[in-house]
């Protein structure tokens, strides 16, 4: 079953599971920036939770189904239509041959996920089908979609069961975020007496926000790193602060080593939230000890397992 790209949108890529176990060779994790929303979309069309699907960024694409196909939308809010009729998020929709799905600009949140029955065919590279744009591999020819691309689904594309995400499993997406975070290796380099300012500031997501990471505005932190730091491992969710005092958070496509002080680490349970934060949104950090954060991760898994069995592979 094929899907033709009529309009590509701002940055629409094929994303699937994280590319794990390759960071020692400089290969970032990639995968859906908001893996929970990817899993919710795949659930509605009967796919594996991390099957290849489309990740839409800020401005959506227009797609034409060349044969009947089931699909589902999750993530940020945008006016979305199938042949001009509004399409609901969080439910299985069956498109007919020739139908056109148009997704407008995202109004709340940063990314939308479109999953298709059977999942998209994609190039597996280094263990994952996810697109990594800087090295141009994975996904659809290693790049964001362009007009006239033709995507293929695995299988015939139509699923038997029509589902809706229960209300209690639709993640709230708003311009205000809170993320739990632990100390990191160079937290002690934050200049006293205002070392706690990281957790007291209502941060604003800066203009530069992408799959690599995002800058935080709202306060200038003092760091005493004496200029040069040895390059050290960093991960999605690592918060670094260069000499200029403006911290930034790393996301799924970030490099694997960095030379700026690592002042905090967002807890595993909340890293998927980074995928929905957009410039201008507000973000607060909640301090956690590692064990507390892990206990909360287990609780979060227990909750989500009710609708998404296998959630441990997602968040």
């Amino acid at each position: 079953m094929s899907i033709t790209v009529l309009e590509a949108g701002l940055q629409t890529t094929v994303q699937a599971d994280a590319r794990l176990g390759m960071r020692h060779l400089g290969v970032p994790t990639s995968g859906a920036a908001d893996a929970l929303s990817l899993a919710l979309a795949n659930r509605l069309v009967g796919n594996d939770l991390l099957a290849p699907a489309l990740e839409v960024t800020l401005v959506g694409p227009t797609l034409r189904f060349d044969a009947p196909c089931s699909f589902a939308l999750t993530g940020g809010n945008a006016k979305s239509t199938l042949n001009g009729d509004e399409v609901q998020f969080h439910q299985t929709v069956i498109a007919n041959a020739g139908d056109e799905l148009a997704i407008a600009s995202i109004e709340i949140g940063m990314r939308i996920y479109i999953a298709f029955g059977g999942g998209l065919q994609a190039a597996t590279m280094l263990g994952s089908a996810s697109t990594y744009l800087p090295a141009a591999f994975g996904g659809h020819q290693g790049r964001a979609l362009i007009e006239d691309d033709i995507l293929q689904t695995s299988g015939d594309g139509v699923v038997a069961e029509v589902l809706q995400t229960p209300e209690e499993f639709r993640p709230p997406i708003s311009p205000r975020w809170a993320a739990r975070a632990c100390r990191s290796v160079e937290t002690h380099l934050l200049a006293k007496p205002r070392a706690s300012v990281l957790f007291e500031t209502n941060w604003t997501i800066g203009r530069r926000a992408d799959r690599m990471g995002m800058q935080l505005d709202g306060a200038t932190l003092g760091v005493s790193s004496a200029g040069r730091m040895p390059s050290s491992p960093v991960f999605p969710g690592t918060i670094q602060c260069p000499e200029d005092g403006v911290p930034f958070v790393l996301s799924v496509d970030s490099g694997t080593t960095g030379g700026y002080p690592r002042i905090a680490q967002i807890a595993r349970a909340d890293r998927h939230l980074l995928g929905q934060m957009r410039p201008g949104d507000h973000l607060r950090f909640l301090p956690r000890e590692p064990q507390e954060a892990i206990d909360e991760l287990h609780a979060k898994h227990d909750y989500w397992r009710q609708w998404l069995p296998g959630i441990e592979s997602v968040i």
Partner: protein
């Protein structure tokens, strides 16, 4: 565990699923990465210049258990990894449009172009670390005369194959992208080739020598 091991190799949580281990050299880091990877117990094991960070799956390994396993392994000691037998000769075109900071590095170091090239090509180096982006190589052992700082502001775009020097190391840019190292040349050698059987021809511990391809600068 004996406390002196923890002083020798400090182990510390740096997140709810991350543990950092301090080491004294890139060669120790590489050796520790191999030992940790062999256990198959970890999601990621990543070397830095002076540390190794382990990411574990907190749904299968408790935080304390993860630290304990690492300390047990450290208690056996670490032998810094030896140099590999593989010697890579990397052709570099120095200066001109491929090395936009070449002249500036000459000024900073007080060297002529010929001297700079002679120093940079005049010894064998060791790959300390592959990281940052796929195939980016941190090559250690630069002559002290070539010790320059990073640029005050990074370039928005550095071309693939660019050769930079900073802080006593040569950095080889495998991919185009932003970068802050002063650039002295460029290589046509593919540091990362996703279509090859082994996309990563350069690994930590390998020996490297730079070969000047042109006599553009040296002859002028």
């Amino acid at each position: 565990m004996p406390s002196n091991d923890n002083e020798r190799y400090p182990v510390e949580a740096c997140g709810d699923d991350l543990i950092t281990i301090g080491v004294r050299s890139p060669a120790e880091a590489q050796s520790l990465v191999e030992a940790l990877r062999e256990t198959g117990a970890w999601r990621e094991v990543v070397a830095g210049i002076a540390s190794v960070v382990v990411q574990f799956d907190a749904t299968t390994i408790p935080v304390d258990g993860a630290s304990e396993r690492i300390r047990d392994l450290l208690a056996k000691g670490i032998s810094p990894i030896g140099l590999s037998d593989v010697l890579f000769e990397i052709p570099v075109e120095y200066g001109g449009e491929f090395g936009p900071d070449f002249d500036d590095v000459c000024r900073q170091t007080g060297l002529s172009g010929e001297e700079l090239i002679a120093l940079h090509t005049g010894r064998e180096y060791r790959v300390d670390l592959v990281g940052f982006t796929p195939g980016f190589a941190y090559v250690g052992g630069l002559d002290d005369k070539l010790n320059v700082a990073r640029r005050d502001s990074p370039r928005q775009r550095v071309e693939a194959g660019s050769v930079g020097i900073a802080d006593g190391r040569t950095g080889l840019y495998a991919l185009p992208g932003p970068g802050g190292w002063p650039l002295i040349g460029r290589t046509a050698f593919r540091l990362f080739d996703p279509s090859a059987d082994d996309p990563f021809p350069i690994r930590a511990g390998m020996r490297v020598r730079f070969i000047s391809t042109g006599d553009v600068e040296a002859g002028s």
